[in-house]
């Protein structure tokens, strides 16, 4: 019952946003960055469905394009954090010993920074731009991936089939990639989906602070920030 309600409410929202972002790949009603001074700050009307901003840019086009930017950044962030995090997590959990202790100490120290602050600090080092946001947010989320994957690997490595893989002479690297990693997919997938949501929010938060995607590119965060004035 509850599942169905969640699906009935959630699916249309995701579908609308997804379609909007995908459409923006090929087409937006107006150019999202094209300024038309004569039609600035218009309320919603028949030519500009959601009105125009202070530079006369069509708000609907900017929202569509912003959705695309958010999706792209969030997806790339998620992939980045998952790849880096799982690799470190698998290696540290599988090797145990000093490598594990050292990596986990650094990892826990990184977890002590609020994600958004860590991302902020990394943004300063990398400078503005979409790829910097992906790296900054990705690095900020990596420690939690490492923690979860490592936990999973610690229990996996005691399983018989892992022992079997080593016994028939497979190399450690092959065992890790072929037998350990695929069995970590379930928790990674769960974490990945919620990470996508966080990444969208964090990207808009960073952009809202003025440290995300630099203007004139549209993102929901920097649109809100400029609307606030």
């Amino acid at each position: 019952m509850k599942r169905r309600i969640n699906f009935l409410i959630g699916f249309p929202i995701v579908a609308v946003l997804g379609t909007m972002a995908l459409t923006a790949l090929f087409w937006t009603p107006y150019s999202p960055t094209g300024t038309r001074i004569r039609s600035r700050l218009q309320p919603p009307n028949s030519t500009h469905w959601l009105g125009t901003d202070e530079f006369g840019r069509d708000v609907l086009s900017r929202i569509m394009d912003g959705a695309l930017v958010s999706f792209r950044v969030a997806l790339a962030t998620m992939i980045f954090a998952i790849i880096v995090g799982s690799l470190i997590g698998v290696v540290t959990g599988y090797l145990r010993g000093w490598t594990d202790r050292l990596i986990m100490m650094v990892n826990d120290a990184m977890l002590a920074f609020p994600g958004i602050l860590l991302a902020l600090a990394i943004m300063v080092i990398l400078g503005p731009g979409q790829s910097s946001i992906v790296i900054a947010l990705g690095l900020a989320y990596t420690p939690s991936v490492v923690r979860i994957v490592r936990g999973q690997v610690l229990s996996l490595r005691e399983k018989e089939y892992i022992e079997a893989s080593r016994m028939i002479g497979n190399s450690e690297v092959y065992t890790m990639l072929r037998h350990i990693l695929p069995n970590c997919i379930a928790p990674i997938a769960v974490l990945g989906t919620s990470m996508f949501g966080w990444a969208v929010l964090s990207e808009s938060a960073l952009s809202f602070l003025g440290l995300g995607v630099p203007p004139p590119a549209a993102t929901w965060g920097n649109m809100l920030a400029s609307a606030r004035g």
Binding site: K2, V106, D108, L117, L120, V124, I125, L211
Partner: protein, 314 residues
């Protein structure tokens, strides 16, 4: 018990060292030389060299780290580049603003969240429960800065009940300060109670399924007593951890909310420091928030045995 406390205290030392190392490395990675930045365009090479020597930047990195660490240990966080103010008093001043908002909000969110969570779990799958879960999902999906902007629009601009911009320290005009803090606190409380409700509900449901709850009911205890005496204490640990994490995260991390409500808090100080490339401020804020996080988690861990005596027995 004493053993647990000591063990937990000792465990924080390497964490603290690593955290400070992380901050040190992060700030050193920022491109550009802080001394040339201090002089702007007007520094001669000799002046810059002298400035570098004065800050110890001509020393090997390990020496720099050690010096920095020993100065941090006595509370010397350096001075800001922009106006030469001492960084630590500045951080503490700004922290008071963030802390007052965050502490009040998290305390209220904890009370609201735990209460609603246990009611939802008790009436699991009823209309009330579905409604509560739906509402928390909606609340969690709304970014706090957008919610804050909407509340500002409604109460500040449309209704004109509350001030839109500005801040007065509580120590100067308590009543006026309350007016400024009302909306940020409300926004944060609303959002965080959503988070707490979810966690509390989930762990309450798990405990409600256990046999000793059936037993408690079978021996004729009232539902209120079952919930208060048997469910809540046993289900509280995960919620308590979450509250600690939220607190640690928010104390330095509400930069966005502070921007929305123009509050001069710690997060805003960091963001401004980033814009102004004021490295001592950035470094100080990062270190301070990270230390705070470690301390909050330590305190949370130290409280565990009070709820669950099994923790310290190990």
């Amino acid at each position: 018990m004493t053993g647990y406390v000591l063990r937990r205290l000792l465990m924080t030392i390497p964490t603290l060292l690593l955290v400070s190392l992380a901050v040190f490395v992060l700030v050193r990675l920022i491109p550009g030389d802080p001394v040339s930045l201090m002089f702007g365009d007007g520094g001669t090479p000799e002046q810059i060299a002298r400035g570098r020597a004065a800050l110890g930047l001509d020393q090997p990195v390990f020496v720099q780290f050690w010096r920095w660490l020993t100065r941090i240990a006595v509370g010397d966080f350096g001075n800001t580049i922009t106006d030469g103010q001492a960084v630590l008093p500045l951080i503490l001043e700004r922290f008071q603003v963030s802390a007052s908002v965050v502490l009040v909000s998290v305390a209220m969110a904890a009370v609201v969240g735990v209460t609603i969570g246990i009611i939802a779990a008790w009436k699991q799958d009823s209309k009330l429960d579905v409604g509560i879960v739906g509402l928390t999902t909606v609340i969690l999906s709304i970014p706090t800065f957008w919610l804050g902007l909407l509340l500002l629009l409604l109460f500040g601009l449309k209704l004109g009940w509350l001030p839109v911009i500005g801040y007065v320290p509580i120590s100067e005009e308590p009543w006026k300060a309350m007016l400024f803090l009302l909306l940020p606190v409300a926004t944060l409380t609303l959002h965080e109670s959503g988070v707490v409700t979810r966690m509390a509900r989930a762990s309450d449901i798990e405990v409600l399924r256990l046999e000793y709850i059936t037993h408690a009911r079978a021996k004729g205890l009232s539902e209120a007593r079952v919930l208060a005496r048997h469910v809540l204490p046993n289900a509280f640990a995960p919620t308590w951890t979450l509250i600690g994490l939220i607190l640690g995260n928010l104390l330095g991390g509400i930069a966005v909310l502070e921007t929305v409500f123009t509050l001069p808090g710690l997060g805003r100080l960091l963001a401004d420091g980033v814009f102004a490339r004021d490295y001592p401020v950035v470094q100080g804020c990062l270190l301070f928030t990270a230390l705070l996080y470690v301390i909050v988690n330590l305190v949370v861990d130290l409280f565990y045995p009070l709820f669950d005596p099994r923790v310290s027995a190990e």
